[in-house]
């Protein structure tokens, strides 16, 4: 793992530590209050703060998970080199696409 990847993984972990906590707290709050899906969507629709928070969340996940997975694969399997890096770059893109698809769906619906 290069110094840049190490830095990105630590920085994304720092973001996720707060983002995951806020995410879980929001879920608990929303469910405890007995909000319906429609009521939740009405709050997220057009909410720029929601969009910004979850965009950052998705970005951090898309950086953190593939770098960590790459480390695990390098330690536990003989897989190395460009094919590994390419596969995990694609995995990062997949996480980005799925994540932003969900964020925009909730933001625009």
């Amino acid at each position: 793992m290069s110094a840049k990847l190490f830095l990105l993984q630590r920085a994304s972990a720092f973001v996720l530590a707060f983002a995951v906590a806020a995410h879980l707290a929001t879920i608990l709050y929303a469910v405890r209050g007995g909000l319906t899906a429609g009521e939740i969507l009405s709050r997220t629709h057009g909410n720029v703060a929601f969009l910004a928070f979850y965009s950052l969340f998705v970005l951090a996940v898309a950086l953190h998970a593939p770098i960590g997975l790459r480390n695990i694969l390098r330690e536990w399997t003989p897989w190395r080199g460009r094919s590994l890096d390419l596969a995990l770059a694609l995995f990062a893109l997949l996480l980005l696409a799925l994540g932003f698809r969900a964020v925009f769906a909730v933001f625009t619906s």
């Binding site: 793992m1 110094a3 190490f6 830095l7 390098r74």
Partner: protein
Amino acid sequence: MTAAEGSGTLGVEIWRGAEQGHFQTFAIPRRTHQTVLDVVTEVQREHDSTLSYRFACRVGMCGSCAMVVNGRPRWTCRTRVSEVAEDGRLRLEPLRNFAVVKDLAVEMTQFFDKWKEAKGSFEPGPEPKRDFAVVPPASKERQAADAGIECIGCGVCYSACDVVAWDEGYLGPAALNRAWTLVNDVRDRGQSDRLDAVSGGGGCQACHTHMSCTSFCPKAIAPTYAIAGLKRAMLMRSLRGAP
């Protein structure tokens, strides 16, 4: 001295062979203040002269007598039998994570090659100063170097490290600890190359901070902290825009 020390018999299982082999059992008399190295020496001199092992100083300076004793890597010259024998038994194996030459002797070439890979030697630069460098003993750098400088290269940390077991390219705790002492050497002029060397695929960032090296080091050095220092140095350099 415990009641058992100095009397009775010790059952000693010793690895015989190389990568493939078996344990051979010897019965050795317990003696007062007996060390594990004393036991191995007695086996070789009195029972089986074909037993191979390595030692030199016998006083904890040379770092050549390390073995796995009852599952844990130790320096055998400074390890008393009374401290480690379990139910009057010792099980002696060659160090883990090293190729076995024969019996208890391991091949240490890769271990020391990694010190070179980590740029673990002083680099004076093209024009070394002619006068003595003044390094205040209380300075932060000097104290950080002091904390790791007494390494004797015994390989105990390398044997204890899980990351070394997983990743053959990992430089290991001893080489990284040595690099950290030099990062803190204010006279050294090879820092850029050194930080490059310890930031590659098998560099300091591969450490999982299991702290086995720190736990087992017979010299009470903490390579984990040295590696953490290298990570900080690497990150700071990375933030400044270096590769």
